[in-house]
C-alpha cells in the first residue's frame, strides 16, 4: 500500500505509465483513505497554483534592443508614434503661433482644424496654390491680400459655397482686413466660397495677431469700442483666445452664444457697456473650448480662431511659468495685447497679454478659461471694386 501512496501524486499528475496507472486506480477504488489523499493532493495542487502571483511581464523592448532586434511596428510602437505625432503637432502649433499674423507664404505646413476641433497636419493643403497665396488664412493678411483681381466674379451671399466660378482664385478676393473700419468697403470674403471649408476640413491659419482688421476695425463690422478693446476678460481669468464670427444678426448670435455657453457649463459675461454689443466674453472650462468654437461655427462663419490648440483645450498643457502675469504673450508686434487697442493689453500688463490658458490651473480643479467672442455683421458684397 505504501507503494501506492508514493505514486499518488504522480497518479494525480498523469505521470505514471498506463499499467501503473491502472494499478493505482484499482487500489484507490477500494480504499477511502487513498481517495481522501487523492482529494487532498488535488486540492493542494490547485491551491499552490492559486497563490502564485499573476505577474505582468515588462521589459521586452529592452531585451529586443539588447539582442539587436528592431522594435515591432505594431502594438508597442504605435503609442510612441502617436506621441511623436502629437509632439510634431505641438511644435508646429507653437511655431505658427509665434509667427502670428505674419503671412506663412512659404506654405510649408498648415494646421487644419476638422469638424471636431482636432488639429492635424495637412501637407496637401500646404501645396495648394491658394494656401500659398493666403498663408492658409480664411482671409489673406492685409499686407499680402490684393483687392479682387477679377471684377464681377463675386458671388452672391446666397450662392452655395461649392459653386466656385472657374478662374476665381480666393487669393484674389478682398480680405476682411482690406476693408476699412468705416464700413465703406464691402465684405466680399463672406460671399466667396472657401473650398477647404466645403471639404469639411476647414483650414485655420496660424492664430492671427490682432491687427486693426480684427481688433478695432474688423472689416465692415461694428468695431468694438476702444474702451472695450482695451479691456480684457474678467480679471480673475486669463484670456485664452479670441474668436471672430461673421453673423447675420449680431444680437441673435450673441444671445445664442450666451445660451450655448451656459449649456456647456460656462459663464457669459454680459457686460455690454464695457465690451460693446458685438462682443461677448465667456468663461468656460478649458476642455470645452473646442465645443464652444464648434458651436460658434453654427452661428456664422468663424473667421478667426485663436483659441489654444486641441491639446490645450483638452487641458493637457501644464501651468506655465508665466502664470497670470501675461509674460507668455507674444511681442508687441502682433501680440494680442500689442499695439493700440490690443485686446489683451490690459490683461497682464505685459505686451502681448496672452496668457497660457491654464495658467491658473490648480491641482484637481477644473481649469476655466476666458474666451472673447467678437461678432461681425455680414455685409452683402454689393460694391466690390477691383
Amino acid at each position: 500500500m505504501s507503494d501506492i501512496r508514493e505514486d499518488l501524486k504522480a497518479f494525480v499528475d498523469h505521470e505514471l505509465p498506463p499499467a501503473r496507472t491502472d494499478e493505482v486506480a484499482h487500489a484507490i477504488q477500494g480504499d477511502p483513505a487513498l481517495q481522501r489523499e487523492v482529494v487532498e493532493i488535488e486540492t493542494l495542487s490547485k491551491e499552490i497554483r492559486a497563490i502564485a502571483p499573476a505577474y505582468r511581464p515588462v521589459g521586452i523592448e529592452d531585451t529586443l534592443a539588447r539582442i539587436g532586434a528592431k522594435p515591432r511596428s505594431g502594438r508597442s510602437a504605435l503609442p510612441r508614434l502617436a506621441w511623436a505625432g502629437l509632439a510634431v503637432t505641438a511644435v508646429l502649433t507653437g511655431f505658427l503661433v509665434q509667427r502670428g499674423g505674419q503671412n506663412a507664404d512659404s506654405g510649408a505646413s498648415v494646421l487644419v482644424r476638422g469638424e471636431e476641433g482636432r488639429v492635424t497636419f495637412d501637407k496637401s493643403v500646404a501645396r495648394d496654390p491658394e494656401f500659398r497665396e493666403t498663408g492658409g488664412l480664411d482671409e489673406a493678411p492685409i499686407e499680402s491680400a490684393p483687392m479682387a483681381k477679377e471684377p464681377g466674379t463675386d458671388l452672391e451671399p446666397s450662392r452655395p459655397k461649392n459653386e466656385t466660378p472657374a478662374g476665381v482664385m480666393p487669393s484674389g478676393e478682398p480680405s476682411v482686413g482690406a476693408a476699412s473700419a468705416d464700413d465703406a468697403k464691402p465684405m466680399p470674403t463672406e460671399a466667396t466660397p472657401n473650398r477647404r471649408q466645403d471639404e469639411k476640413s476647414k483650414s485655420v491659419g496660424p492664430p492671427q495677431a490682432v491687427t486693426p482688421a480684427d481688433a478695432g476695425s474688423v472689416a465692415g463690422g461694428q468695431a468694438p469700442s476702444p474702451a472695450a478693446a482695451a479691456e480684457s476678460g474678467p480679471r480673475d481669468q486669463p484670456v485664452a483666445g479670441r474668436v471672430v464670427v461673421l453673423v447675420d444678426d449680431i444680437d441673435k448670435a450673441r444671445a445664442a452664444a450666451e445660451a450655448l455657453t451656459s449649456s456647456l457649463g460656462g459663464r457669459p459675461d454680459g457686460n455690454r457697456n464695457r465690451l460693446g454689443k458685438n462682443e461677448l466674453v465667456v468663461t468656460v472650462a478649458q476642455d470645452r473650448v473646442g465645443e464652444v468654437v464648434e458651436s460658434l461655427r453654427q452661428l456664422g462663419k468663424v473667421t478667426q480662431d485663436s483659441t489654444p490648440p486641441a491639446s490645450d483645450k483638452a487641458g493637457l498643457s501644464r501651468p506655465s511659468a508665466g502664470g497670470a502675469s501675461g509674460t507668455m504673450g507674444r511681442g508687441s508686434q502682433g501680440g494680442l495685447g500689442g499695439g493700440g487697442g490690443g485686446l489683451g493689453g490690459a490683461e497682464g500688463g505685459a505686451p502681448g497679454g496672452r496668457v497660457a490658458p491654464d495658467a491658473t490651473a490648480k491641482a484637481g480643479v477644473p481649469v476655466k478659461v476666458t474666451l472673447r467672442i467678437v461678432f461681425v455683421q455680414k455685409k452683402a458684397p454689393s460694391q466690390n471694386v477691383p
Binding site: A10, K46, A50, P57, I60
Partner: protein
C-alpha cells in the same frame, strides 16, 4: 532570435519572477535571451525550446539570487500577515497563508520541483531535464514535497484546534 524572444519572453520572465521577484526578473530574462542568442547553436532539440530557455534562466536566477545574497524563498512565499484569501469551496479547506509558509519551509530542492511542475507547468521529464536529475527523482521529490506540505498544513490545523 527576435521571434524566439517575442514568443517566450513572458514565460521566461514569469519563470524568473517566481524565483527572484519581479524587480530582478527583467534583468534575468534579458540575460537569458542574450545567452540563448550566443548559444543557440548548442541547442540540439532534445528538449522543448522553452525548457532549454528555462534552464538558462534558472542559472541566471541562481546567480542573481546568490549575488544579491538573498536567503530563503522568493518574496511571494514569505508570510506577510495578511488574511488568507478564501475564494471558493476548495480554498476554504486550506489557509493560503499557511500554505505559503509551508512552501517557504520546504527544502530548496523540493520547492523547486513543486514550482516547476505546479506553477511553471513543466512535466516531470522537463523538470528532470532542467535540473539534470532522473525523472524518478523528480517524482520522488514531488511526492515528498507534497507529503511535507500536507503534514505542515495538518499540523497548522491541529495547532489551531
Amino acid at each position: 532570435m527576435e521571434d524566439i524572444v517575442r514568443r517566450y519572453y513572458e514565460d521566461v520572465w514569469r519563470f524568473c519572477a517566481r524565483r527572484i521577484g519581479p524587480e530582478a526578473a527583467s534583468d534575468a530574462t534579458q540575460e537569458t535571451f542574450v545567452t540563448a542568442q550566443r548559444r543557440i547553436s548548442d541547442f540540439e532539440g532534445r528538449s522543448e525550446l522553452k525548457t532549454w530557455l528555462f534552464g538558462i534562466a534558472l542559472n541566471h536566477c541562481r546567480n542573481l539570487h546568490r549575488k544579491a545574497r538573498n536567503e530563503g524563498p522568493v518574496e511571494w512565499l514569505r508570510t506577510d500577515g495578511r488574511e488568507p484569501a478564501i475564494d471558493g469551496l476548495d480554498s476554504q479547506l486550506i489557509d493560503r497563508e499557511a500554505l505559503r509558509t509551508a512552501l517557504a519551509n520546504l527544502s530548496e530542492e523540493h520547492r523547486e520541483v513543486v514550482l516547476m511542475h505546479e506553477i511553471d507547468g513543466l512535466t516531470y521529464q522537463e523538470a528532470a531535464d532542467l535540473l539534470e536529475i532522473p525523472v524518478g527523482t523528480v517524482k520522488s521529490r514531488l511526492h515528498h514535497a507534497f507529503a511535507n506540505l500536507r503534514a505542515a498544513l495538518r499540523g497548522q490545523e491541529e495547532a489551531w484546534r
